[in-house]
């Protein structure tokens, strides 16, 4: 499985107008629910999980967040992608007392996470290379995001990291 197979055009927001987590989670949940990809519990559980176990990551020049929740809340797997130039505040994964402003957010809708090692490694590989992050943030459309992620996966495979 490749990361790109989890990326749905309808679940990509380039330069989202959302300003905070509440808006962002509601936006993603509403869209995913309209496609019958999640259960009614998803939004509540996602919000709860993020409050207890935050997922913000501070990179050198950017912030990233990987909100996700219980597999039971996901009926069809997806990874939603959002970019935000201004950034959306998230608490940090390692220390909830610190915040990061996330420019790139991947909402992970996974229901078999343990079997998705390669997909998750590709996602981390994308985050861990600033050139990849910059390319994603420069994307002007959902198609750009998908194309960029395809390139990232090819690049990672070329590095034989996978």
């Amino acid at each position: 499985m490749d990361l790109v197979q989890f990326i749905k055009k309808d679940l990509i927001w380039v330069q989202t107008p959302c300003q905070d987590q509440t808006e962002l989670f509601a936006e993603v949940s509403t869209r995913a629910a309209s496609k019958d990809m999640i259960t009614d519990q998803f939004l509540e559980k996602l919000t709860e999980r993020e409050a207890i176990f935050p997922t913000g990551l501070q990179l050198e020049n950017f912030g990233v967040a990987l909100p996700h929740t219980d597999p039971e809340c996901v009926t069809e797997q997806f990874i939603a992608v959002l970019t935000s130039e201004a950034g959306i505040p998230f608490k940090q994964m390692a220390d909830a007392n610190q915040e990061t402003t996330a420019n790139l957010i991947f909402v992970l809708g996974l229901n078999e996470p343990h079997s998705q090692l390669a997909v998750l490694q590709q996602l981390m590989g994308a985050i861990q290379n600033e050139e990849h992050v910059k390319a994603l943030l420069a994307a002007k459309s959902a198609d750009d995001i998908i194309e960029t992620l395809s390139q990232v996966v090819l690049h990672l495979k070329g590095e034989e990291k996978l």
């Binding site: 176990f53 990179l59 996700h68 220390d95 985050i127």
Partner: protein
Amino acid sequence: MSKKVLVACGAGIATSTVVMNRVENLLKDNGIDASVEQIKIAEAASKQAGADLIVSTTILPTTYSIPAIIATAYISGIGMEELDEEILANLK
């Protein structure tokens, strides 16, 4: 004697899967005889007896009787080598 490492994350999904793989390879590459178990951080308190190290991708809700290391470096990519060294140092 064989060592035991607990790899924990909050949701018990996603991040610990990647870290688990990294830690297993790290131990293998360094010839360290250790088993690795993937857990939710909430289980760490009850599972620490008999284990030697907790490697967590999430905040630690309490203190433990064994060393506990935060491993978000494996997710962000910043400071991965230092984290490798820290984990190895705790198992020697």
